[in-house]
Symmetry: C2
Subunit: 563 residues, 2 copies
């Protein structure tokens, strides 16, 4: 088969994001990205009203839905074009992998038909896909946590002591609470990642990654007991056996071959190997060369997700989750996160930057972020006298508290917009340092940092600040679309050596993944100042985040009373 490796062969990675889906055609021999096609979802994020003709159905605040047809359309709109426009023969595409946002889940019939596609349920928001950032299941999450703590459920420790309102059983329980008819009719409750894999192969195949990070499952202990689920609601006792599955496929395995229908959608050959689905953040690690312990991968975009591999199971303060084989087979995959990063910078530009910065940007044909960054880069650490807590969207790690909010201190009449912009970048860097500290303290060593995602390429100021704040050299991934590349790599692994692919993700990473070569080194003088500022950040972090001062929660309570 070694001859096969030298021939032309490709894999396709499909990355299902929040606003769009993208397909990338990748050369299996070296990871070169040949072409990319993006499909902006027709119905995008559904967070105000259902799509026409049901726009009269208004959604509550905190809701966020998607349309499963947008996922199918992504396949139809992107893959055939990739092939057509590159002229690549479908027979040279040896495998396909997909990754998805998560937990993004939906109720379906036994044959996979989403309930929202049925006339009976189309007007019911609970029949649609609940997107990862659907935040309306907080009461259910509270019940889940309260019951787990009361019963001393061992799995809770794997989630840093707190199960999120974003995750699978919070969303499932919200369906049961608020739409029992939808719950009763749903033969399956399933991650969208597994649903699209099912659509590609015709076979329901659930992956260990989302089960582990979002659905309380572990290889060692399986799912929690029916007794536990029964304490949440008697009708929920058998949710796993009635609506899900205890058979889960490890990452790196093959879900099946492309079905006739999916071959028609994509223009690929029927039977093309399809990898078990993955999560966008997790699949990015091998895409930026990380398949071993010790290197923290930061996937930085609107929010940041941190992935770290460890050889032992440790319980890390406030981490999002740890899953054996959840990122790389044979290792424990640790996940942590910051719930708003790029979103905060975008918030500033949209809400707190005066016209002259927009004029400057316009007249120079550059982005407002760039105008701010050019001024901010000239500031010395500590010069602005500002400090922020970066909780504009709550805190995902290590406090795990969606009720927390942003704080900015140190303003004077002389404070300028680039100073605020820089202080917010610094705050997100301090937030990352808190997470690194928690890993190191728990014995999951962080020795190096690799950044990928939308932010690092665009923002050298940000990367330098992260290096100065954390004290680590920071490398960046070579690919601007790490998730899709990682998915393509898993596609090549699903194909296997025999078909011209690889036998393991490690092998695929060696051949197909690379770093950009750009490394940001900490500047000693900056580190010293940031060490001082970090002490202040850490103290405020604990004061407002750990119950010393409850002002953020009280403000939310007052807000909910008056609204």
């Amino acid at each position: 088969m070694s001859s096969g490796r030298r021939g032309q062969r490709y894999a396709i990675g499909v990355d299902f994001g929040t606003e769009s889906g993208r397909s990338v055609l990748v050369d299996v021999t070296d990871g070169r990205e040949i072409a990319t096609r993006v499909y902006p979802y027709r119905n995008g994020v559904i967070d105000e009203q259902l799509p026409a003709p049901h726009e009269a159905v208004r959604l509550e605040p905190d809701w966020a839905l998607q349309d499963p047809d947008d996922y199918i359309r992504t396949l139809q709109e992107t893959v055939p074009r990739l092939l057509r426009e590159t002229g690549v023969n479908p027979s040279l595409v040896i495998g396909i992998g997909i990754d998805f946002t998560s937990c993004t889940m939906l109720p379906t019939l036994r044959d996979g038909t989403p309930l929202c596609c049925l006339d009976t349920f189309r007007r019911n928001p609970h029949a649609w896909v609940k997107l990862w950032k659907h935040h309306a299941a907080q009461p259910e999450a509270d019940r889940i946590n309260e019951a787990a703590e009361r019963r001393g459920e061992a799995w809770l420790k794997r989630y840093g002591g707190r199960y999120s309102s974003e995750w699978f059983f919070s969303k499932a329980l919200q369906i049961l609470d608020e739409a029992p008819d939808v719950y009763a009719t749903a033969d399956r409750l399933i991650e969208a990642a597994d649903w699209i894999t099912w659509q590609l192969t015709g076979v329901e195949t659930r992956n260990e990654c989302t089960a582990g990070y979002k659905a309380m499952w572990s290889r060692r202990d399986g799912f929690p007991s029916n007794d536990y689920f029964a304490t949440l609601d008697q009708r929920f006792a058998h949710v796993v056996d009635e609506k899900m599955s205890r058979r889960l496929a490890p990452l790196g395995s093959r879900a099946g071959g492309l079905s006739a229908q999916a071959a028609q959608w994509t223009g690929l050959n029927q039977g093309t190997p399809v990898a078990v689905a993955n999560v966008d953040a997790h699949v990015s690690a091998p895409a930026v060369t990380v398949t071993e312990t010790g290197t923290l991968v930061a996937i930085m975009g609107t929010s940041t997700c941190h992935i770290l591999l460890g050889s032992e199971l440790e319980y890390v303060d406030g981490m999002c989750g740890v899953v054996e084989g959840g990122v790389i087979p044979g290792l424990y995959g640790y996940e942590a996160g910051q719930s708003a990063v790029g979103d905060i910078f975008a918030w500033v530009v949209a809400n707190a930057v005066p016209p002259e910065y927009f004029y400057a940007a316009h007249s120079r044909g550059i982005d407002v972020h760039q105008v701010l960054a050019e001024a901010a880069v000239k500031l010395r650490p500590g010069e602005s006298g500002l400090l922020a807590l970066d909780w504009w969207n709550g805190n995902r790690s290590v406090l795990v508290d969606a009720e927390l909010s942003g704080l900015l201190v140190g303003m004077t009449l002389a404070t300028k917009p680039p100073e605020i912009y820089r202080a917010l970048i610094e705050a997100t860097a301090f937030g990352t340092r808190v997470i690194i500290d928690a890993f190191n303290k728990a014995g999951v060593a962080v020795n190096a940092l690799v950044a990928c995602g939308g932010l690092p390429d665009r923002n050298p100021l940000l990367m330098q600040i992260y290096a100065d704040v954390t004290g680590y050299d920071i490398s960046t991934g070579a690919s601007r679309q790490a998730p899709a590349l990682g998915s393509a790599m898993y596609g090549a692994v699903a194909a296997g050596t025999a078909a011209g692919g690889y036998d393991s993700i490690q092998e695929a990473a060696q051949r197909m993944a690379s770093l950009s070569g750009v490394v940001y080194h900490p500047v000693a003088a900056h580190r010293a100042v940031y060490d001082m500022l970090y002490r202040e950040y850490a103290r405020l972090h604990d004061l407002f985040g750990r119950g010393g001062d409850n002002v953020m929660r009280t403000l939310r309570q007052i807000q909910s009373v008056v609204s």
Copy 2:
């Protein structure tokens, strides 16, 4: 003399502000403001470099100077025009009063010549007028406070336990420290208010108001002992006798008659009665009808000054000062203040409001403040989830700490500019409530509120929030130029009944002062929410302001280290 009262007669008030001086011609019978003339100071606030041809002399940060020639030019440019344009015969102008910012002080020769007018000293910044907001004498203020505390100086309690860097002896001591030649040459160190009175009358006359509020003096105890001044610097032991005067004139008395030279400057008759000088904030109280105990006057502009009368001497936590006869003869005049109010709203508009609000303002021909206020007025109290500490320029009362800075908490990705704008208005209202609470707690009762200054007229949203937050009905003064009106009233008192004026400021207030008739009443439902928010404000106020959490001071320290 009753016949004289019915005839045409006028008084002129001259208000020396920060950026300009203004003269107002007032009808003595009813307080009607006949005409106003404003002179924008040629050299404005001198805070970067000395005026040409000495622009090579750069000033340190925190410096703020003025040019005494601008005060003379104010007289020359405004008073003759008032007379000419109204056609009022100078003989009908029965008196003239002046008010000034304070502590604004300068060194002069024995004849009143400012040292900065001498060639020898013109390039020396210490020879110029130190404006009230000159903040470079903090080290001297620290020494003054430290020595006063150590010696248990009784006068310190009259200043809420802290003597400000803005005040007379801090500035005088800075001259001695940094420019001993200027100090040695200065025959007189004098408030600009008294200097301009001197220029008007040819006789040095110092007022009790500035002596009491800014220079440690009280009617009961006089100035501190020479011993005390000697502990600050041996050369400072006899500062009062060498550079000042122990003879002080009470408010409402006559400083003298207009000199021949001043008659030439102004076009008024030589000998026209000139009142003893006053401070802009303090003179506003009678101008808005307040000459009795129990009504707090809030002079609201870029900053806010609070004036309250009491019949007894009480020591109020963190007040700026209490002076017997300092506002109205026979009563104790209490002063408190908020060091940034309108300045904060202006800061937001200049630094943190995005273009669409400017477009909206421009297209509708209105102010950006108005666009923000229109959106902010629709918000319910507590709805934004935001809370701020209004210390963008430190805290003047009750914490008396210039090192404090602003804080904003509760931001989410959904936070909008009008919410921030409203939160900052609310924060300044909470700041006012803290001051009212301190007065009530100390036994100086606040029963009602009257607002004047630049802000109240322009901003009904702000006034309603102040009523809702404090729980008091708030009236507003009728005049938009209360200080100048108050000065004209004192001019009429300097003239006395015999000359067609009044014998007391109380009598003048009854005839010449009035309220607008607009009263803002607290809304019960708003009060309830603001009571909740105020508890949070008060807790954060004490936490960050009273040493529980030193982050603001630490950020300043780090800032000074890196700058």
